[in-house]
Symmetry: C2
Subunit: 152 residues, 2 copies
DNA sequence: TTTCATGTAACTTTATATGTTACATGATGA
DNA sequence: TCATCATGTAACATATAAAGTTACATGAAA
């Protein structure tokens, strides 16, 4: 399975936006992320629907953060993306008649469910504000070396 | 991402094999799994290399279990498959120069790593023998209803 | 009314699991 | 020896989903 990097991507966008007032055009954000404006709009669409960000058309338009960063967790952002699958593995058949497969599914599901629950719990523990705080620390550390946030 | 069902599949095969002496041809196993013999050979190849199963060519050939089912865990089987990715999500860039992305990766990696570790730990707690025991219970329960393991 | 920016559909590209065909290799049995 | 059976494996086909791209409609600002 090709890995899904939308959560990673949208967090990157939000964190960039949190560094300065905005608004930011999809074009600008796409350049910073080294991708395409349409990809930005796509991953931001879910966040707009829930109200975490706003978008405006026309001159001076673009994307703006519209939520309290200390109230929104990574899990909330994940949900805004539509709760895409977390695990790369799954059962061959979901409701098999074969008892052998039922036994296999039962064992695997226990492990899978536990792992999913833990992942969601961990994502729920981190707010966007905490991410921003961590970033500020990293920026401070690098400043002492005279470097910008965008060396790459 | 399309989900990987090889672990589910290979466990199904092993559990089927554990029910009777064997050997079993890929053809037979493929029919029971409703798939192709080559698929069976493919998912069994790793297990053969490690020595969990043996395969023989020619008349009377096929696959045989060659390990102590109470000593091999689902995690061992997973490893025999070559440790395929567990999570459907990942970071956009693995070693980014951008500090924003580094901060995002750090936060996500913590959650991802925890979830992976838990999943592997859970898989490590279940042996093939335990799976077989669970299956026997299910077979017993169904026998009281006069049904076979292959109703589907 | 021109320009800018988003919204979105449609298509292409890429990655990966799964399914299939074809054939080589080697073991068994007549 | 030789026909048959079964695995081993390469090569190709199909399916699914993410990511990238193009094209154009919509609507806001200058």
């Amino acid at each position: 399975m090709k890995q899904d990097s939308r959560l990673s991507g949208v967090l990157h966008v939000l964190l960039h936006m949190a560094q300065q007032p905005g608004p930011f055009t999809s074009e600008t954000l796409a350049r910073a992320m080294d991708t395409n404006p349409v990809v930005i709009r796509r991953i931001m669409a879910g966040l707009r629907e829930i109200g975490y960000v706003r978008s405006e058309k026309g001159h001076g338009g673009g994307w703006t953060i519209a939520c309290d960063l200390s109230k929104v967790t990574l899990r909330d952002i994940y949900a805004a993306l539509g709760n895409p699958p977390l695990l790369a593995m799954g059962n061959r058949t979901e409701s098999p008649g074969c008892l052998v497969e039922q036994a296999v599914n039962a064992a695997l599901d226990q492990a899978f469910d536990d792992a999913e629950a833990l992942l969601l719990a961990r994502l729920g523990e981190v707010t966007l504000a905490m991410l921003g705080e961590d970033l500020r620390k990293r920026l401070g550390a690098r400043k002492h070396q005279g470097m910008s946030a965008h060396r790459a």
